[in-house]
């Protein structure tokens, strides 16, 4: 145990500033919303992921704060904990955020992440996106992971397979879909996030 005890978490509440969100914070393919950053496009297959966030009894949950965090198209992170960080796409930061709309809708534009070998465990990670959900009535963030359909590496992924029930695993596999709001050149997927109740999304200890 460390010498210092961590500060407790507290709910994000309902008043997280909408102004923190640049107009493009949910578009991970551009980093130009940060002053001075590149305005080039990230490498890889552009994808659009959208869905609805529900609380109990299938009621859409608005004003939830959703964050994406993922590797780039070749499976690298621009972070010192990745031993191959020098190979990371300089035009991809891997992080995005947005609040769900009045009807619970959320969406992100990103690139399909690559798989990689986890430097800590040596296990092969399937392509995946780390997703955090925060909001009023949520004492701390909930974390889950989105996986891709028809991906052979899912079978060996340690996070995917930590879920014992195959039916529950299905709930975090992205489903091919069509959305009127998606960019024309993006592959589209749907995934709803159910905070509580039937078909509840599996969440992980982080």
């Amino acid at each position: 145990m460390g010498k210092f005890v961590p500060t407790p978490s507290c709910t994000v509440g309902p008043f997280f500033p909408a102004h923190y969100f640049g107009p493009n914070d949910n578009d991970l393919t551009v980093t130009s919303n940060a002053a001075g950053a590149s305005s080039k496009r990230a490498q890889g297959t552009k994808i659009y992921i959208a869905g609805t966030i529900y609380e109990a009894d299938r009621v859409p949950r608005w004003n939830s704060i959703v964050e994406f965090w993922q590797a780039d198209a070749s499976g690298h992170f621009a972070h010192p904990n990745d031993p191959e960080s020098s190979k990371a796409d300089p035009d991809f930061m891997g992080w995005g955020r947005r609040a769900s709309e009045d009807d619970g809708y959320y969406d992100f534009i990103t690139v399909k992440p690559g798989g990689y070998k986890d430097p800590l465990t040596g296990l092969v990670r399937a392509p995946h996106i780390n997703v955090s959900i925060m909001g009023s009535g949520l004492m701390r963030r909930l974390v889950t992971t989105f996986f891709f359909p028809d991906e052979p590496a899912n079978a060996g992924d340690p996070v995917f397979n930590a879920i014992p029930d195959a039916k529950v695993r299905e709930r975090i596999i992205l489903k091919p879909a069509k959305f009127p709001r998606a960019p024309a050149d993006a592959l589209c997927y749907r995934l709803d996030i159910v905070l509580q109740g039937e078909d509840e999304t599996p969440f992980f200890l982080d």
Partner: protein, 229 residues
């Protein structure tokens, strides 16, 4: 083993004193993947994400905001006491009247045209940070009869690894509303609660201008085990 495993630090997802948790807390237990973090890398924000001016919330308008000016200083450390450097810290709060400049806030208290109530910094080489702001007011909420939130400042930290991400609230010493605030008291351990209270530190203030407060924040170690039971 992480300190978070040894004692209950975080509030439970389902806390009856905070009503809306009943609709949003998952019913299924969280899944433990392995005795190591889900992802070891975390987002790295460059200096361009937090301009120096964003650390001063009092110069955003045409003139100074109303309220008690204060300086908030502190350090961000990990469980071993090592500084968490170059990490993004976002801060947001209501104005001196207890009103957020947020469309969702319906509290019948005046907005201050000179106060937006949001700031950002990147921590320095010793994990240090400094904000200039005003002391937020208390505000009522509809959780239960006579529900008032004690004065508090919201903080969002990214740390240097995915497992270090934390959202929390900072409270003020000797606030009479603390004992009746369900959010403050949702943290099970009374000692842990006190670590959400800042300390008066006059000399960090500005003589004849602003009060000084100190609030140090401890994040989990970058390689610590997952939280919870």
């Amino acid at each position: 083993m992480s300190a978070r495993d040894a004692i209950e630090i975080d509030p439970p997802y389902d806390f009856p004193g905070y009503k809306s948790t009943a609709l949003r807390a998952p019913k299924q237990p969280l899944i433990r993947v392995a005795p190591h973090p889900l992802e070891i890398a975390g987002p790295a924000f460059s200096r361009s994400f937090a301009k120096e001016s964003e650390a001063d919330l009092t110069t955003w308008g045409k003139s100074a905001p109303l309220g008690e000016k204060m300086i908030l200083v502190g350090r961000v450390l990990d469980e071993d006491g090592k500084p968490v450097r170059n990490s993004l810290l976002e801060l947001w709060q209501c104005n001196a009247s207890g009103r957020y400049a947020h469309p969702v806030d319906q509290h019948n208290a005046p907005l201050d045209p000179n106060f937006l109530g949001q700031g950002k910094v990147l921590t320095g080489d010793n994990g240090e940070y400094r904000f200039v702001t005003i002391k937020p007011g208390a505000y009522p909420w509809r959780n239960h009869p006579w529900a008032w939130r004690p004065a508090h400042i919201h903080l969002s930290l990214f740390g240097n690894a995915y497992a270090q991400r934390i959202i929390t609230q900072m409270f003020f010493p000797a606030d009479p509303l603390l004992p009746i605030d369900p959010i403050f008291n949702s943290v099970p351990d009374p000692e842990a609660r006190q670590r959400m209270v800042c300390k008066l530190d006059l000399e960090q203030g500005i003589e004849e201008e602003a009060l000084g407060y100190r609030f140090d924040i401890v994040l989990r170690g970058a390689k610590s085990t997952p939280t919870g039971v």
